[in-house]
């Protein structure tokens, strides 16, 4: 393991992504990627009485699913890194309170999924862990309740707003395996370009994604064409366009191989999701469900996964603060 450039870490014995699992809610089950997810729910409550309990159940069942799929015993998993969007990360800590694995609760807003994989990779590479579990969740209804308005309120959503993905993504990383490997990580800096509109998260997070993207290329000496796909978490339609254009002004052309999970997960026209999907589970489910299979089948061999997060809450919005963005990147290669 060594540092290259200003903020990238490369691994000598890169950790393998052993297995992934994904559970999604009813709306995602009607989206274009439905067939790739492990489990599609037809009820947002999933038999629970509250949205929060439903979200906890989703992450709990998804973690059980990824452990079962991986074939290793839960006692062989050394550490768990998990987080979500609810205050004090209650979905993860309540959902995983019976799992009996040493637990790190982390918060990086929608960047949590890649943040957890960054931390787990370093744990594994350093010899501190043999197997590590990373999991995130988000739920449209619990997120709306916490960040916006009650669901039944008859208001209108602006065209730049995004739709929080209901679901959970989970991965197990291991020290020895046959890939796909996490070859390097570029943890991002907090970047705030002064956007205050909580209904335009893509625009708020795009500068952070740009900073991490450029830093990654500069640190590693790679070019955008090195990767089969460069994938951001939830910039949505507006953020994706902004990142593409801003990258071009800095001399990086990512037009040909750049995708955004928030754009992929919903059908914008028929599902009324405006600027696309968002939430911790957006990149979590799309990577766990779709991209991991593409890597396993060797349809893609080198991807750069960049999860973006908006580090704000409803109080900071009401107090007129701008939205600090963050983006963490990991390179995954066969």
């Amino acid at each position: 393991m060594k540092r290259v450039g200003t903020q990238t870490i490369t691994f000598d014995n890169p950790p393998t992504i052993l297995e992934t699992s994904s559970i999604v809610g009813p709306k995602e089950s009607q989206g274009p990627l439905a067939k790739y997810f492990d489990q599609c729910l037809d009820d947002e409550f999933w038999g629970e009485k509250t949205w929060e309990k439903a979200e906890s159940k989703i992450i709990k069942e998804n973690v059980n699913s990824v452990i079962a799929k991986s074939g290793i015993a839960s006692t062989d998993i050394d550490f768990c890194f998990a987080g979500d969007l609810l205050n004090q990360c209650i979905s993860s800590s309540f959902g995983l309170r019976e799992i009996n694995i040493p637990f790190f609760g982390i918060f990086g807003a929608c960047s949590t999924f890649v943040e957890s994989m960054c931390l787990a990779s370093v744990f594994i590479e350093s010899g501190g862990a043999s197997n590590a579990l990373c999991a995130t969740s988000s739920h449209f209804c619990s997120a709306e309740k916490q960040f916006r308005f009650p669901l039944e309120l008859g208001n209108q959503r602006p065209p730049s707003s995004q739709w929080t993905v209901t679901g959970s993504g989970a991965v197990i990383l291991t020290f020895s395996g046959t890939g796909p490997y996490i070859t390097c990580i570029t943890p991002g800096k907090i970047v705030d370009m002064g956007i205050k509109d909580a209904n335009n998260m893509g625009a708020a997070m795009a500068p952070a994604a740009l900073d991490t993207l450029i830093t990654h290329f500069r640190d590693t000496g790679r070019k955008p064409s090195y990767y089969d796909a460069i994938i951001t978490g939830d910039l949505g339609y507006i953020g994706k366009e902004i990142l593409t254009e801003l990258a071009e002004t800095k001399g990086y052309n990512i037009k040909n191989n750049y995708e955004d999970c928030g754009v992929l997960i919903f059908d914008k026209e028929n599902q009324d999701t405006h600027s696309g999907g968002s939430g911790c589970a957006c990149i979590g489910t799309v990577f766990s469900g779709y991209y991991f299979k593409q890597l396993k089948e060797k349809k893609l061999n080198k991807i750069l996964l960049i999860a973006t997060g908006a580090l704000m809450n409803s109080t900071s919005s009401q107090q007129g603060e701008s939205i600090p963005g963050i983006a963490h990147a990991i390179a995954i290669e066969n």
Binding site: K49, T50, W51, E52, K145, F149, P150, L151, E152, L153, G154, N155, Q156, R157, P158, P159, S160, M193, G194, I195, N200, A203, P207, I238, E241, I242, E245, L246, E248, T249, K250
Partner: protein, 150 residues
Amino acid sequence: MKPIETKQEYSNYVDQKSPNSPILKNCFNAFWVGGLICTIGQIIFDFCTFKGADETSASTIVSIILIGISALLTGLNIFNKIGKFAGAGSLVPITGFANSIVSPAIEYKSEGYIMGVGGKMFTVAGPVLVFGISTSVLIGILGTVPISFF
């Protein structure tokens, strides 16, 4: 395109990149749905006065019926769809006020009847009540004080 360096440049760029709400369509839908709700109110009002109610009673009955319908539709998960379509058309009449109180009551029922329903019921409508009542008190004072001088 030139590289963006300052927050102001970025803000201008984002404004240009972000699509605007379809204002004409929204205004048109708000106009006819709002008009329809008011027409329904007027029909109830006329029916009540036709049946012999005085104007004050008829107005009260109209409010009760519209609030009742709005609350019921909120509970049936229908009002939010109307609101999404009509915007201010369903928000500005008393139907919107009823919706703004019933929707948090439903949402926060999971936190119990006292601190959930009771405590959160007015999170959306609270500002309307505070400033609506304050304004009416102010207007009341402004209206009566000059008169008492003469």
